[in-house]
């Protein structure tokens, strides 16, 4: 019974983690779809958002969940600036080495994480919100339950907000004109250009939205996680692993991939060892590359065509 309890508890925490991972990966998948580049500064942009949330909490006592509304617009503008002044000019540069833009995002990541170290020191920080250790227990609802499961309140709250943001993004992409233009650019930039979509503006918007999404993820992560300057790399890895599992540039795939990775990681952490969780992450990444190069998206597509 204890085994089952452990398993279910791992599954629940993996699921909650997966929802947040999905939010990180959504932004990356969106950028990947429209720009055809992997944004390797993604985690560091999240780190920026987390520092914004941290300082707002420390200096003004603003709840991290509220700072979503400050951090996301700020990083939206930051992302637009990066796209306009760094990535778009590089697209026109001729060079022997391919993937110039990807290397550029690595440079950006180096600058961001190092600047954070210099400005805010390498200390581990967290926002001690007063509901941090609140939780709901299964025995509270069902008195005679044979097993005990708990649901941490900040985790659940973050998860629910992540779901809400994901649905909002889905509505934005599928119902509004701008969303449709973004999807058109992602499908075929040349055709979109011919049909009168301002491709460059869509790229700027997409990069902005991608950064805003990861900023939300950062604000949702900070009540349940701790913060240090080089944390970005870890979440960049999470982001691109999910993007590959989900299928490059597919937003639906990113959500499913996020859940898969979240569950897989907490399973490795529980059953193999805490330190091995990153290895599990990369093992599933390599497995996805080798056995399922199209990602989850290719399975979804095959299903649809089968009907």
């Amino acid at each position: 019974m204890a085994q089952l309890e452990l398993f279910l508890q791992t599954l629940i925490s993996g699921f909650l983690l997966g929802g947040l991972y999905a939010l990180i990966a959504l932004g990356m998948a969106l950028i990947m779809g429209v720009m055809r580049i992997i944004n390797l500064a993604h985690g560091d942009i999240m780190m920026m958002a987390m520092y914004i949330a941290f300082w707002l909490f420390t200096l003004f006592g603003i709840d991290p969940y509220v700072s979503v509304f400050i951090a996301a617009p700020a990083l939206f503008l930051f992302g637009m600036g990066v796209q306009k002044y760094l990535l778009t000019p590089v697209m026109k540069v001729e060079s022997i080495l391919p993937h110039n833009q990807v290397i550029l995002t690595v440079g950006l990541a180096m600058v961001l994480s190092n600047l954070a170290t210099v400005l805010f020191t390498g200390n581990y920080r967290s926002t001690p919100v007063n509901y941090a250790s609140n939780a709901w227990y299964l025995t509270d609802i069902w008195k005679g339950s044979p097993i005990e499961l708990s649901l941490s309140m900040p985790w659940t709250l973050s998860f629910v907000i992540a779901i809400v943001i994901t649905i909002a993004l889905w509505l934005f992409l599928s119902k509004t004109d701008i969303g449709k233009s973004i999807r058109a650019t992602s499908q075929d930039p040349d055709a979109a250009l011919i049909l009168g979509v301002n491709v460059n503006r869509m790229r700027m918007l997409t990069f902005g939205i991608g950064c805003a999404l990861v900023a939300c993820a950062g604000c949702l992560f900070i009540p349940i996680y701790y913060l240090y300057p080089s944390l970005g790399k870890q979440f960049t890895n999470v982001g691109f692993v999910i993007t590959v599992i989900g299928g490059m540039g597919s937003t639906n795939g990113a959500v499913i991939g996020g859940l898969i990775l979240g569950i897989f990681e907490s399973m490795t952490a529980t059953y193999i060892g805490m330190g091995w969780a990153p290895v599990g992450r990369f093992a599933i990444f390599v497995a996805a590359l080798v056995f399922l190069p199209g990602g989850v998206a290719s399975i979804i597509r095959r299903r649809k065509l089968g009907k």
Binding site: P89, S95, M110
Partner: protein, 314 residues
């Protein structure tokens, strides 16, 4: 003249220990040569074959750990790591090649990045084998003086340079460039692209690993954070080649000279020293935007800028 330039440089370098530079300058020269080897090795795969790798720290670190583990567990001299790392790195390259080389472009870059991280985390967690974060320390140094270290790394660099020269002027080199320029076209002309990419990766991996094994012997201490980091090894490798010039013989050497001196200068400055990665990142962005083919590749462009500047000022 240009043909004999490498030979002249080699001869000059042979004479360097007789000048009697201070230990510090010898240390810098050794580092420059080591980074030239890594840069040249990366250049085979990234510059000539067009497969950009973000994970050369994996090869470097495995080379270093091969030497370290031979010393730690078998009790033999870590210098055996040089020949041993060739064997280990060949095996590793074949495995990595099998997994990653079926991928193209950005996928390949990501896969190598992930493999570099896998190596780091594995080295951190296999505590019984690698001593984890404690690292491996060589208790007795072979030489206190730097002269022999200098000659050894000079020899490795010369061999690396010759290998690259020979390979790139043979049929193999043309295959590599063909793959870089257009993989589909190369394949349709009957080049077994995966096979030649694997050869390129093996060469690159072995040479990087040799540099790693040398590093273990030279520095006498390694831990996963020193030999497997993403920014300080993998990305600096890419930078060495990008600054100097991808797909040129001399580029990585120029890049290594610039990067090592720059790193030393920046680190020695008060206050700014902690921000060396910021400065490296800005340089990287600058190079990508304005000198995408590096100093050796774009020197004509550099001349033009300077000439224009001179004309404007005179």
């Amino acid at each position: 003249m240009k043909k004999y330039l490498p030979l002249i440089i080699f001869t000059v370098l042979l004479a360097v220990p007789f000048i009697g530079f201070s230990t510090y300058i010898m240390h810098i020269l050794i580092l420059v040569l080591m980074w030239s080897v890594i840069g040249m090795a990366w250049n085979i795969l990234g510059g000539y074959t067009g497969q950009v790798s973000f994970g050369h720290a994996a090869f470097f670190g495995v080379g270093a750990y091969t030497a370290g583990i031979l010393y730690q567990h078998l009790g033999i001299s870590a210098w055996w790591g040089l020949p041993a790392s060739i064997v280990v790195l060949t095996a590793l390259s074949l495995v990595i090649g099998y997994i990653c080389l079926r991928l193209r472009g950005a996928y390949f870059a990501l896969a190598t990045l992930a493999l570099g991280e896998i190596c780091r985390v594995t080295a951190e967690n296999l505590v019984d084998f690698t001593r984890g974060n404690l690292g491996i320390l060589i208790k007795e140094r072979t030489w206190v003086d730097k002269t022999w270290y200098f000659y050894i790394i000079l020899f490795i660099a010369a061999v690396t340079y010759s290998i690259i020269k020979i390979v790139m002027e043979s049929k193999l080199g043309y295959y590599f460039v063909a793959i870089r320029e257009d993989q589909d076209a190369a394949e349709s002309l009957g080049i077994d692209t995966t096979f030649y990419k694997t050869i390129s990766l093996c060469l690159s991996g072995i040479l990087t690993g040799t540099a790693g094994a040398f590093y273990m012997n030279y520095m006498g201490y390694i831990d996963p954070g020193v030999v497997f980091p993403l920014y300080d090894i993998s990305i600096v490798t890419v930078m060495v080649v990008m600054v100097g010039g991808a797909a040129t013989y001399g580029g990585p050497v120029i890049g290594a000279v610039i990067m090592v001196f720059l790193a030393e200068v920046i680190r020695s400055l008060p206050h700014i020293g902690a921000a060396h990665q910021t400065i490296f990142g800005i340089i990287l962005i600058f190079i990508i935007m304005f000198l995408p083919n590096g100093i050796a590749g774009d020197y004509l462009k550099l001349f033009k800028i300077f000439r224009k500047h001179n004309r404007a000022s005179s």
